[in-house]
């Protein structure tokens, strides 16, 4: 895999214009996805009314329900989807750069498994714990996202500590330890599944399939401080990641502070994916497919790849969400199903296409 990434610079699309065009197209796609996400849903609201609401018609009592749907349901949902999608895709690209493996995925640093275990704890044990402490229910519903975020962070920290010996972080150890941790959290989650009742089991299943359904301004406000700084910071890691493609020693000789870069990337991914998972549950494949697809079209240059990932990741998650809420209206499909259903075949197709190129 490392060879494939290292060999790719020779096939870089030439010229600034091509890159500019690609970015313009991605920005347009993201904008279109936003418009679609704000303009469509189970409640039929015509484009003219949407425009009316967005341009200040929200004070008009005639538009009360429409403006509520648009301003309090669709708008936060769109922003959340944009952030989570961008965060997942960028984290995927960071992981693939760090592990020098185009198949790496944010799940490798344990965020998803840690968050999943914490969420399962809250869902299955939360009520009993609350009763044990003598606090009257119901469980405050901010507890689940908070626990998921902290669980993801804790798992990544644990992995990082395991993989770091005398100030040097071994990426390979981290990868293997990540697999072990995944198995361990899977087993513990299984234990909780065993102890769960019918309802909790359903909750757990739905949580692990992901949804942007409960998006509120509060959620957007809680997620933005975690994801937005990462999106801004990430392009500055581009140069270091580009050098890292050559190997850790080579990057060091190129003047990159490799250990600091690794620490920073892992931390950013943990924060970003942790926030995304806590806000929307586990959403698969965006972090894997988006960077991979873009690397094939834009080339592996990280300073270009990372912002492009943010645009495409956000756009794709929004489109998936539009599909999720329209196909079964007035019910909605968990978004993780849509991303995996569309993502997996696309990913396979990309892989086959690449193999064909390699064979030729």
């Amino acid at each position: 895999m490392a060879e494939a990434v290292a060999a790719a610079p020779h096939s870089l699309p030439s010229g600034r214009t091509a890159t500019g065009l690609a970015f313009a197209a991605l920005a347009l796609l993201a904008l279109a996805a936003c418009l679609l996400s704000i303009g469509t849903g189970a409640v039929p609201i015509g484009p003219a009314r949407v425009l009316e609401v967005l341009t200040g018609g929200w004070a008009d009592p005639m538009l009360a329900r429409d403006s509520l749907v648009i301003l309090n349901i669709r708008l936060p949902r769109t922003l959340l989807g944009l952030m989570v999608g961008a965060g997942l895709a960028v984290s995927g690209a960071l992981m693939q750069g760090l592990f020098r493996n185009p198949l790496a995925d944010p799940a490798l640093v344990g965020v998803s498994s840690g968050a999943g275990l914490a969420a399962a704890c809250v869902i299955v044990l939360g009520d009993r714990l609350l009763a044990g402490l003598g606090i009257p229910g119901p469980l405050p519903f901010a507890l689940l996202p908070a626990a998921a975020f902290l669980g993801g962070l804790a798992a990544t920290l644990g992995l990082y500590l395991v993989a770091t010996r005398s100030g040097r972080t071994s990426v390979a150890t981290m990868l293997l330890a990540g697999i072990a941790l995944g198995a361990l959290t899977g087993a513990l989650t299984g234990l909780l599944v065993y102890a769960s009742d019918d309802r909790q089991l359903r909750d757990l299943t739905f949580w692990s399939l992901g949804s942007l359904g409960g998006a509120t301004w509060a959620k957007v406000a809680a997620t933005a401080p975690a994801i937005l700084p990462v999106l801004v910071a990430v392009p500055f890691l581009g140069r270091g990641l580009n050098a890292l493609v050559l190997g850790e020693a080579e990057a060091f000789h190129l003047g990159i502070r490799v250990e600091r870069l690794k620490r920073l990337a892992i931390l950013l991914v943990a924060i970003c994916v942790g926030a995304g998972v806590s806000a929307a549950g586990v959403i698969g494949f965006v972090g894997l497919v988006v960077p991979h697809a873009l690397r094939l079209t834009l080339g592996p240059e990280h300073r270009r790849l990372l912002p492009a990932c943010a645009l495409l990741g956000g756009a794709l998650l929004l489109l998936a969400d539009v599909a999720a809420r329209l196909v079964a209206a007035p019910a909605e499909l968990p978004i993780g199903i849509v991303t995996a259903l569309v993502g997996a075949p696309v990913f396979l197709w990309l892989l086959l296409g690449r193999n064909r190129l390699a064979d030729a």
């Binding site: 929200w58 403006s67 019910a331």
Partner: protein, 292 residues
């Protein structure tokens, strides 16, 4: 962020007028459009004649069968969609407790639609309370009172029959038997509730809720009868359930071939049909019980 917040405040102010109007309206007349979420709520509303006013149901609204056939489906009770619900323009949401997720219900409430969660304790009083609550919320107080009286009478005659039971039977309520895993209803479950209504002792009271049970625990539970959530032609026969060598085959129930198949929805639904379901179960358990 502050722009967003001020926008919300203004929006809330703009909505306040509308919400006030709605509350006044609700106090005067029955809600014209009801979102009915949860099997028991839908069943009760249909019994009360509220069906024409139901605009949306959920996937657990299985009885009567026409509910899911005729009405839009809002999905699973605990994974609802705010916009999906609002798109059916309900005046009120009546749901069984546990409907959610909570932030979706909060959004629906924010849209000025009152959301009422009806409690579901698996007892006779719980059923009566549920009928009266749903009736009051739907503005169908009179039919609800009549139905509650009917169901109360049902429970009363059930209690009279139950009093004649001299020795309660140990009964294992099996929810499903898939790949050798026997899922049973333990204490604090609807299974436990219906067993005590039918005058039986739950053989799986050591287990909490619905859980798979081990073979050894089945033998130790020593049920004198097994109730399965299936009836009709596709129900497993006593020969398969109590096949020699299986755990169930080594219980006292096997010797008597005491296998009772009943419709799970009726048995565990805790709605208006509960007295009949409990008395049917009781007759099956105690065929020699003198009739009142």
């Amino acid at each position: 962020m502050s722009a967003v917040l001020s926008r919300r405040t203004l929006l809330a102010a703009a909505l306040a007028a509308g919400a006030g109007h709605r509350a006044a309206f609700a106090a005067e007349a029955a809600p014209a459009r009801i979102a009915s979420l949860g099997g028991a709520v839908t069943e009760i509303l249909y019994r009360l004649g509220g069906a024409p006013r139901i605009v949306v149901v959920d996937t657990t609204s299985l009885h009567p069968a026409e509910a899911l056939r005729d009405k839009p489906n809002a999905g699973y009770l605990r994974a609802l969609s705010a916009e999906g619900l609002l798109s059916t323009r309900p005046d009120i949401v009546i749901a069984t407790e546990g409907a959610g997720p909570p932030d979706v219900l909060a959004l629906v409430r924010e849209a000025g639609v009152p959301v009422h969660l009806v409690r579901e304790p698996p007892t006779a009083e719980g059923v009566l309370d549920k009928i009266e609550t749903v009736g009051r919320l739907a503005g169908l107080d009179a039919p609800a009172k009549a139905l509650a009286e009917e169901v109360r009478a049902g429970f009363a005659s059930l209690a009279a029959e139950r009093a004649r039971i001299t020795r309660p039977a140990r009964v294992l309520l099996v929810l499903s038997m898939a790949q050798g895993r026997v899922m049973v209803g333990g204490r604090d479950s609807t299974a436990d509730g219906i067993l005590s209504l039918a005058g039986a002792q739950n053989a799986a009271a050591d287990i909490q809720g619905f859980k798979p049970i081990t073979d050894e625990a089945i033998v130790a539970a020593a049920p004198e009868a097994v109730v399965m959530m299936r009836n009709g032609p596709d129900a497993p026969s006593a020969e398969t359930v109590f096949a020699p060598g299986t755990a169930l085959g080594q219980t006292p129930a096997a010797g008597k071939r005491a296998l009772i198949g009943m419709d799970g929805l009726t048995l565990l639904g805790f709605g208006p049909r509960t007295p009949q379901a409990a008395s049917e179960l009781m007759r099956a358990l105690y065929p020699d019980l003198p009739r009142g």
